[in-house]
């Protein structure tokens, strides 16, 4: 399924984003590199606060005033987004690179009708008549599985259920046939059955249109079913990335390993779960070197210095003591 040959649509190199807060500088994204090829689905996994959303906002240049990209480059089809002018970036957003957010309740403007919100998205990029734009909107709504789209176009967001709203948001993202869609936990707030439907549909749509996806989630099992490649973030850094099979079947970073091992489905029923000790550290006072070392069984003194970001066997890894042969996480 993965298309290794093509040029990446998106190539992120050494991206760092810092947030200046009262309490100090937060390195929300720290030296993050990855790439996505056309039609490929990349899962970006990590726990709350690990910098997933910040990475996405950095790509889209949608950061808040306090946050700044301090280093790195984001190449979309070879063009560095971070160098583009604000207007050029605006034209790219929604047109070449689209984004969907987590909370379907909040992403649609509650006081504007669906058709307004869809038509404006078309007309922001293409000089077409309202009628044409409406036709496109209707067609796209139908594609994401919304029944009687004509009627639904006239509705307000609150008249939809959560799942439907997320479909509308997906439809808006698809409107201008972008090359890449960044999805920031779009199904986290939804029920399992609805999530199942949306995952299935997204997969189909991408396959049909060749759109690449970045799927942000904290749920490894979603990635397992959906993505081609996966990158695992911890405290602002990607600690491990590679194809889904490789990473999930034989995680090599102790954190990835810990995560997979602590999943109930990898444990015997009723027995104590394997757990990663400690809590996710605050980004404000990270331990030096490897941020995971205080929770890591394998940590040694060397971990106090920054581990290199290495490519080994078709995956990348940021660890001094990778698990060489885990023999699968299923203990």
């Amino acid at each position: 399924m993965t298309i290794h040959s093509a040029q990446p649509v998106l190539d992120v190199r050494h991206l760092s984003t810092h947030i200046g807060t009262r309490a100090g500088t937060v390195k929300a994204v720290d030296d993050v590199s990855f790439s996505v090829r056309p039609g490929e689905i990349m899962g970006l996994v990590g726990e709350s606060g690990s910098g997933k959303s910040m990475t996405a906002y950095s790509l889209m240049r949608l950061l808040d005033a306090l946050a700044k990209v301090v280093a790195g480059s984001v190449l979309l089809n070879g063009r560095d987004l971070l160098q583009a002018s604000e207007e050029a970036m605006r034209q790219l957003r929604g047109n070449d690179i689209a984004m969907i957010f987590q909370d379907p309740m909040m992403t649609l403007n509650p006081v504007l009708r669906i058709d307004t919100q869809m038509i404006e998205a078309v007309r922001a990029h293409e000089d077409v008549s309202v009628a044409v734009a409406r036709a496109m909107a209707r067609e796209t709504l139908a594609r994401v599985g919304i029944a009687s789209p004509d009627e639904r176009l006239l509705a307000y967001p609150h008249q939809f259920s959560g799942g439907m709203r997320q479909r509308v948001a997906i439809a808006i993202a698809l409107l201008n046939k972008p090359d890449l869609i960044v999805c920031d936990e779009p199904t986290t707030a939804l029920d399992v059955t609805i999530q199942g439907q949306i995952l299935y549909e997204m997969q189909t749509l991408c396959r049909e249109s060749g759109t690449a996806l970045i799927w942000i989630t904290h749920d490894l099992s979603v990635v397992a079913g959906l993505a081609d490649t996966v990158a695992v973030m911890y405290a602002g850094r990607i600690v491990e990335s590679g194809s889904v099979q490789d990473v999930l079947r034989s995680p090599r970073h102790p954190y990835t390993h810990g995560l997979i091992a602590s999943s109930p489905s990898n444990n015997r029923r009723g027995e104590a779960l394997k757990q990663i000790p400690g809590a996710t550290p605050s980004l404000l006072n990270l331990p030096s070197g490897c941020a995971f070392r205080t929770r890591c069984e394998r940590a040694t003194e060397i971990c106090a210095s920054d581990p290199p970001f290495e490519a080994i066997d078709g995956r990348t890894l940021r660890c001094f003591h990778p698990i060489v042969d885990a023999g699968g996480a299923h203990g």
């Binding site: 906002y57 889209m60 949608l62 808040d64 605006r90 034209q91 790219l92 957003r93 929604g94 047109n95 689209a98 984004m99 957010f101 987590q102 909370d103 909040m106 992403t107 649609l108 403007n109 509650p110 006081v111 504007l112 009708r113 404006e120 998205a121 922001a124 990029h125 307000y156 609150h158 948001a169 808006i172």
Partner: protein, 325 residues
Amino acid sequence: MTAFLLRRLIQSIVVLIAMSLLVFIALHAIGNPIDILLSPDADQAERARTISAFGLDQPLWQQYFYFAKQALHGDLGRSFSFGTPALQLIAERLPATLELAIAAILIAIVLGVPLGLWAGLRPHGIAGKSIMTISILGFSLPTFWVGMMLIMLFAVHLGWLPSGGRGETASLFGVQVSFLTWDGLRHLLLPAFNLALFNIALVIRLTRAGAQEALLQDYVRFARAKGLRPARIVGVHVLKNILIPVITVVALQFGSIIAFAIVTESIFAWPGMGKLIIDSVRVLDRPVIVAYLMLTAILFVAINLVTDLLYAALDPRVRLTDAKG
């Protein structure tokens, strides 16, 4: 909807009854209007005769019941000092006050929303900070003082605008209004601005707070992610969401604007209800006070109603029956 209207109706009737009762008791306790209005040359017998001619010598509850009976027939009595039906008096003055209040609200919105937006979008700029500082003055300066300053500056020193009064009016659907004539408009400007001052500050603050909050919302981020132009994001997505609280609050302010018109009207010699009511309180002209309160209470209820309707019109999420009752 019917139930909603019915509820409002019953509530307002209760409010009206309670209000008229309170006024009756209060004014009775304050004093006797005849003592103020009666000519100094009148003797005790004349005083007694006059008091009984107005029924003021009767027990209060009898006076109230008489009033209530008449009120049910739409008669709120005649003003003591004007000798004119109180309702007619109020009705004569109502348009002037309403016009002033509406003008004030429009000024507040027209000036307040853009300034507030500006301050909200650029909270750290010099302009934004100055706007906020000046808006504090709007809250803190006493209306009467500012009014006098405005007169001194624009009427006395610069001579640009008249110092007070209502000026020429034109008839609109049988109601005399100022804003249709140039002269009337000139007369309207200063008092309306004076009355608007507090509300400009309020709208600036509401708008700024709203803008800052809206900017944090995902829908704004989503709009940016769609590649919309900033003008559209601010002008449509942000503004429409801000307008909901702004319009609601401002509409609810309408009541207090009318109340504070008392001060503005006496400074600018604006012939509205406010001046009438303060004169009436001075001479304990009960029918006028009662009629005024009734009217403002009805107005208040109506404004609440309109606000709810507006709210529903602006905010699709609100259904009427859900509105606070």
